[in-house]
Chain length 174, copies 2
């Protein structure tokens, strides 16, 4: 086991800054490309990250920190962001993500004492008891999953353009 | 085909800034972890990117832009950076990468007229004729491959920590 709250926060606080550096000002060609039907473009991934800040990590953490282990998580719809009709620019989305992430990391520090709370549990609808350490580790790896997704989607756009180099580029061989 | 020089440069100029935002100031735990024997940590990936700036992209481009298609590439050792005995901090490596990338993008603009040069060719030692468009596309996707590698290596560090969420996290299922 490698988890520590401080090291997890190092990654969590960087993600909105990394995505801002990565995506802000990019051409529509990069921001709107995806991997085919029912796949997300980079802007949709950022919307999903915002949705998870609103309705996943901190709400689930608050459930876990209640007394008793029988509490269940509130529902989280992984596709909720696709139902939004609001058209905002990538810059607005990136600011929104950074703002809510900053608020949530403040809330995390208020709620969690690493010496006391990491083993507190709640019930996940699919796989039963999970604890605070697992939830916070998952928050980190979820960020990393979606940074990889954005990167893979962008690489896909040049699959044909790289010609015979395709075989040497790991990202195109997943 | 989606390649354009301007859009390729958008990604190429961002990569050192993204990696700086991602890695600068991170704990050694994140910077030194890898995926097992003979795999690279994040710092080694940055060293490899520097090596490719020195000895791969621009030298190969210069060969392609010579008259005739029979010219072969100079050799590029993908593991050269592992032989370096210099111990530099991640911050030094990131600055070095940004400096040489900036120089190389200036050189790219000097060398390549997109209306004239994209179809010029040279011989790759493994798969024969390749052209400037394919080389420059590969430069972009190579960046994206290594951003993904760094991200995957970091995620691996928390494989056990996420508990049963492992099955839901795509980055852990490669």
């Amino acid at each position: 086991m490698n988890f520590s709250v401080n090291e997890a926060v190092e990654v969590l606080e960087r993600t909105p800054l990394v995505l801002n550096q990565y995506l802000s000002g990019l051409s529509a060609g990069w921001l709107k490309c995806n991997e085919g039907d029912d796949t997300w473009n980079a802007a949709e991934v950022v919307e999903h990250l915002i949705e998870a800040e609103r309705n996943n990590w901190i709400p689930r953490l608050e459930v876990m920190l209640q007394e008793g282990e029988q509490h269940s998580f509130p529902p989280f719809d992984r596709f909720a962001h696709l139902k939004s009709s609001a058209e905002t620019s990538i810059e607005q989305k990136l600011i929104e993500f950074k703002t809510i992430r900053t608020q949530n990391l403040t809330r995390l520090r208020e709620l969690v004492d690493p010496d006391v709370h990491l083993d507190m549990k709640a019930s996940h609808p699919d796989f039963g008891k999970v604890n605070v350490r697992e939830l916070l580790s998952t928050w980190v790896v979820h960020d990393l999953t979606h940074i990889t997704q954005i990167t893979r989607v962008m690489a896909e756009r040049y699959r044909k353009d790289v010609g015979p180099w395709e075989q040497y580029l790991g990202i195109l061989n997943k």
